[in-house]
Each structure stands twice: as structure tokens, then as C-alpha cells.
Symmetry: C2
Subunit: 175 residues, 2 copies
Amino acid sequence: MAEESMGLIRRRRQSNAAANLAGKGAEAAADHDGSIDLGVLPQLVGYAVRRAQLRIFQDFIETMAEVDIRPGQFSVLTVIAANRGLKQAEVCEALGFKRANLVVMLDELERRGLVKRVRGASDRRSRALHLTKAGEVLLLRLNGLVAQHERRFIRRIGEDGKRQLLGLLAKLIAV
Amino acid sequence: MAEESMGLIRRRRQSNAAANLAGKGAEAAADHDGSIDLGVLPQLVGYAVRRAQLRIFQDFIETMAEVDIRPGQFSVLTVIAANRGLKQAEVCEALGFKRANLVVMLDELERRGLVKRVRGASDRRSRALHLTKAGEVLLLRLNGLVAQHERRFIRRIGEDGKRQLLGLLAKLIAV
DNA sequence: TATTGTTATACTCTATAACTATA
DNA sequence: TATAGTTATAGAGTATAACAATA
């Protein structure tokens, strides 16, 4: 029973986002026995970018699970390798970390023998960051895994698509 | 005080990082003088998407601060409005929430008088979700604010750029 | 006084297990 | 047994304040 004849409008999945944005109410009843109307969301860049980011990071984390490295750790190792001897504050500046949070991450990376902190000679407040030998060896492996991960996504849009995507994202957030 | 100015400095220098991201054709040799080499990161789709997502959400949160609505809350209100009477499990399915986490969010939205949960008649385990009148009124305002937020980004890439971007992101994460 | 790194803390978001009340 | 919702909790990630050592 309760066959709710009210719900037979059967709206297809494409939602008119412009209409929703303009405040035009939808008459949609409750017939979502399969596909749920996301309303304006699929037309919002923020929603699409967030969904993509979640999907990509999920793959990244699974790809790196065998070496127990997370996206933030990979970015820190990469920046240290590309700027040997740089200070913690500079890593924070480059990656948008808070100093207090980088401390905790470096504690872990140092404990694992991947990074070393060296007291600055000229400015004894600062610590110069370096990869250890083990850190460099691991980073080679990480780069191989990341390349696989990257290819899994890029083959869906091609190298041209990747160039377009990076260009659009850069324009999107350019000051 | 020092912490506040630190925040400003970080934001300003983040634009340097964004400029690095924008440098597509550049071989991007190690430009010294305080700029930090991000290595392979700017060529990784996940890094670019993550950076864009952070920037867009920051603007979204600031835009919605006056009504105290966060991105997840907006998406839930939008889905309820577009599928009146749907169940909590369906919201979770549509948006990728865990059931336990949606409960907490709905407690808050219900406390604020924006959403109501109605015991299902046919299945008394489930709760049919509806916006209250106040919720509908607020959502109209939210849609106006979101449209402003969206325009701030879209004017940088144009409507064509937006179509390309949404298309590329959809292809990128298509099953 | 200002900056670098640090400790402590808190808040959001996300994830899992176990419970309840229904089915 | 299975499902919808709930409670409790734990883990990341991110944020700020305060401190010591140093500039």
C-alpha cells in the first residue's frame, strides 16, 4: 500500500540549475527510487572540484598505502628534495601549512628516518631540512607510484585535456 | 597581532605558489630570491585540484559567513529541497556522507528550524526530510549568495571555460 | 621587538563499531 | 536477519595562543 500516486512525476536526472539559482521552485515530488536530484550542485564549480579532489585523493592514498605516505607528507618530501636545506617556515609558505602543524609532521618523518633537521649556522633559530639517504630512496619510489596514479586519471582526458585542466584551474584561482 | 600579520603574509605568498602553478610553458628553473621550488607538484592534477578546492571553499565559507552555512550544510539543504521527503540514507547516498555524520548535521539544522524530520508512515524506521518554511526562505538567500560566489570565479574563465572545466572534471572521475 | 620552532589545544570533517527500533 | 537512524569515539587536517631561544 501507500503507492503514493503523487510521486509519478518521474523527473529525469538533469536538473535545471539556472532555474534553481533564479529561485524558481521545483515541483519535484518524492520519487527518488534510484536517482536523487542534486539540484544546483552539479553546476557549481566548487562542487565539481570538491568531488574530483576527493576521488583523486582517495586513489592517491590507496596507491601510497604500501609505503604509508599521505598527500601532505608527499608534498613536504617533494619540496624538501627540490630545495635542500630550506627552513620549516619556507615549507609552510610554499604549501600553506601552519608552522605548528608542520612540526608534528616533521617529527613523524624524522622518526621514520626520512628527513633530518639541522640547526642553522647563521640563524640558530631555524632548522635546515634535508632528506636522509633513506628519504631520497623512498622518494624515488614515491615518484614512480605517483606517476602511475597520475596516469590513471590523465588517460581519461588525454595530455591535451590535462593541459587545459591545469590552465583552467590556474586561471580560476589566480589573484 | 603577530599571528594576524603572519596570516596575511602567508596568503600573499600563496599567490606566488599559484603563479608557479600557472606557469605552464615555463621550465620553471629554480628561481631564487625567496621563491620556493614545488618540484613535480604543479604538474600533478591532484595538487592543482586540491589547491583550487581550498581557494573556492575559502571564498564560499566567507560568502556564507553572514548566514552561518558551510558547504556541507548547503549541499544537504539543496538536496532536501530538490527531493522533498527523501530519507537520510538517500541524502548520504547522493552526497557521500556517512550516516552517522549526517545525523549530527541534521540535529543542528533542525535545531535552527531549517529542516524537519518526519517519521515515515509506511516504514517507521525512516525519517522523511523536509525544509521548513524558514529553511525555504533561507535557501533562496543562499542561492543568491552562491550565485555571487560562483560568478567571482567564473568571470575568470568565462562560461566556455566553465563548461570545459566541468566536462574535464566529469571525465576525470567518470567510472 | 620580531621571528623560528615548539607545545598545547580546539574545532571540523571523516570513519567505524555498536546500539535501538523497526522491518 | 537486515535496514534506518542513532550514539559514541577516534583519526586526520587545520586553526590559534603562548612560550623559549634567538635575532
